[in-house]
């Protein structure tokens, strides 16, 4: 990669020149800390470790990288830590849309504006899942059944992405659902398999094993078009065979969860630029494609104004749902 060698050269030149200030680009001078705003083993943690692994493998920076987990308080621990580290360019925070959604609905001591946005690196899709032996074959059937009896919808965390989507389904489908929050998507998937719930809205990777194992199946995906075909998951079907929810009469065009990367506030534009560049390089490797494919996410890269626009739009939307539900904290 030409960019790398040029950067390395300029870094080398800066070192050789000794006192000469680095003109072109900022380079890290000490170990970098990746802060995953989730416990070990979760999606955010996997992302941080995958990025760490790629950077180390290709020596994209000279400095060692350590991953620390600060997943307490549904991720708030990590963001608060990021806020407290203002001006420190050696802390990179990995999170989700939680960064701007959580401060809306609970009294956490941070807001996304306390952090410097770097990029949204991947989008996780949402699907509507039911138990394998459930009688309904389409989202339409599901809504019809849900209208006559109160269905139990499971999800990860409270007033978070899963519950927001649940409330959107209620509105679009004119039904009433009882939302039961669990600690994680994996836990929710098992509860559905055991028949304790009627449905959930897990990401593909959270229920992949369960779908293959024949304990639950997706009815539809909350995406404007069907997912990329890819390999078959079960004997007959793959992600590309899952219809969109709009096709099936559940009018929610798009709902997805970005995996986001941040620096603490008050860092210099050069420092932010270094990490944007670093993440771009990570995304260009075959290992990244492999990671995306294995976790069934969608590869995206939003940064700068595009990322800002995305946050603003999502924020407006969540504010509306949260306002209707009376979740907004004063």
């Amino acid at each position: 990669m030409g960019g790398t060698s040029r950067l390395l050269l300029s870094a080398a030149a800066a070192v050789l020149a000794g006192t000469m200030p680095a003109l072109a680009a900022w380079q890290p001078q000490k170990p970098i800390e990746f802060v995953a705003t989730a416990g070990p083993g979760g999606g955010t943690d996997n992302l941080a470790r995958a990025v760490q692994n790629i950077i180390t493998k290709y020596k994209l920076t000279e400095q060692p990288i350590v991953v620390v987990n600060k997943g307490g308080g549904s991720g708030a621990e990590g963001y608060v830590y990021g806020k407290a580290s203002a001006g420190d360019p050696y802390k990179v925070i990995f999170g989700t849309s939680n960064a701007w959604q959580q401060p809306l609905v609970s009294k956490v001591a941070f807001n996304y504006t306390d952090l410097t946005p770097i990029a949204a690196m991947a989008q996780d899709e949402f699907l509507l899942w039911v138990k394998q032996d459930a009688p309904y074959k389409t989202a339409g059937d599901y809504l019809k059944a849900a209208a006559s009896g109160e269905f139990k919808m499971g999800g990860a965390q409270s007033k978070d992405t899963d519950e927001v989507l649940t409330r959107m389904i209620e509105k679009a489908g004119h039904v009433k659902l009882t939302y039961i929050p669990f600690k994680s998507g994996a836990e929710t998937a098992v509860q559905l398999a055991g028949g304790h719930l009627d449905s959930h809205v897990n990401n593909p990777s959270e229920s992949l094993g369960q779908w293959r194992g024949g304990t639950q199946r997706p009815l539809c995906v909350f995406s404007p078009k069907r997912l990329a075909p890819g390999a078959k998951v079960t004997a007959t079907e793959g992600w590309g065979d899952v219809p969109t929810c709009v096709e099936q009469g559940l009018d929610i065009k798009q709902y997805e969860q970005p995996r986001t990367v941040w620096l603490p506030g008050k860092v210099t534009p050069e420092q932010a630029a270094f990490y944007v560049d670093l993440m771009k390089k990570v995304q260009a490797t075959p290992e990244w494609k492999d990671y995306i494919e294995k976790t069934s996410q969608v590869d995206t890269f939003l940064t700068g104004a595009e990322f800002d626009k995305f946050i603003k739009e999502d924020l407006e939307h969540v504010k509306q749902v949260a306002g209707e539900q009376g979740w907004l904290v004063k």
Partner: protein, 512 residues
Amino acid sequence: MDNLGELLHGFTIAVTVPHLALMVVGVLLGILVGVLPGLGAPNGVSLLLPLTFGMQPVSAIILLSSMYWGALFGGSVTSILFNIPGEPSSVATTFDGYPMARDGRPTTALATAFGSAAFGALIGVILITFLASWVAQVALAFGPPEYFAVYFLAFASFVGMGGAAPIKTVVALAIGFAIAAIGIDTVSGSVRLTMGIDELVKGVNFVVAVMGLFGIGELLVAVEEEFHARAVSSKIDWREVFRAVGRLPRHSVALLRSAAIGCWMGITPGGPTAASFMSYGIARRFSRRGRYFGTGEVEGIISPETADHAAGTSALLPMLSLGIPGSATAAVMMGGLMIWGLNPGPMLFVDQKDFVWGLIASMYVGNIVAVALVLLTVPVFAALMRIPFVVIAPLIVIICVVGAYSVSNSYLDVVMMLGFGIVGYLFKKLFYPLAPLVLAIVIGDKAEDAFRQSMLMSKGSLGIFFANKLVTCLIVAGIALLLLPLALQLARPWRKPISPTAETTAQEKVII
């Protein structure tokens, strides 16, 4: 016996020179991280995880699971020698292990702990081998009400057992529940009890609490009493290691009962911590020498250790077959599985036979390697007890401070750990029991979540706890355990009277 054939095939994968070497390395690293409190198995495994990305999945899981075995064993060492539990699940081991070690029998305590731990693990693996598919089905039957019933049972088996004055037990429990409630609440999503400290949103880490309560608390008491101010003259005797292990079969009832409790809690999945507490509580109730528990009883070590390892081992089964991790370490390993390109879930047993059975075979071999290595280290660890108190006390403080800091690189944790030290000291001076406090901190919020999830499902009706046979049995068993001491007390006047003074002193002795 299809499984037996598969298992033999698994052995051909696990018993190769490179894999045996990986096991030895994994176990040694595991003992190291287990002995250092605060580092612990989950952190150790996540540190090692990136190194495994280039490996074959089966080699990688063998390395990581061996480390897990090593850490489980290592966690008992500091609990017994210094009263500092390195892992949440080894807290119950301190109750009798530490008094026995202070009594000049560290070798016996360690060897007993390791021997019974190995037995528990073995039962756990056998269960996985033969009942894998059945166990997976059982775990599916557990919804929120059933989870709550399991936690309730764990509380009941421990709380009702007496020892301290009942009102003190209730106070300790209540404080524990309050501490467990700190941070973000899963069900409502709101922030609770942070008292204006932003960082407290993460909640109180368990390791931070127990290192303070046990490590520092014990140290403060020791300093005051000057009782421990001299080193324990422990004889280092190799033969005692084997004698202690040889004596284990005499306690076969305790071993089998604890293994059963451990397996049950591992697959349901209440987890190793709840299992060890529950096993200790039940042993104390039913053992003939129950009243001496807390003063260095052999069965007081056997019960929590056997259950801890039986649960730790069988907890890997829900992880593989359902994709729910039974413990924090299992959660890290599950992350590893996904990165290696395997999907934990029901199909793993069909798609990845070599991997699954290689892993199960490696559990047999890995545990044998672990127990052999760890028994060899007993005299070395026991010798630590000979170091004079003036040297060891600052070391314990350093271990606790570094351990608390390394949990999440936070200074606040160190301050909280020291604060818990004072709480631990006060509890001891005022004869409040620490065990219910710790139990409430560990599973208090889980029990609360399960209860409130159940209430959401039933729209507030308690009838959900009697809605099917499984949950009814669990709840009734829990209530029975709670009421048992009361019933015994009512029955007492008809029994031969016990001198009240002897009763009180015995009570004060066994407060833990």
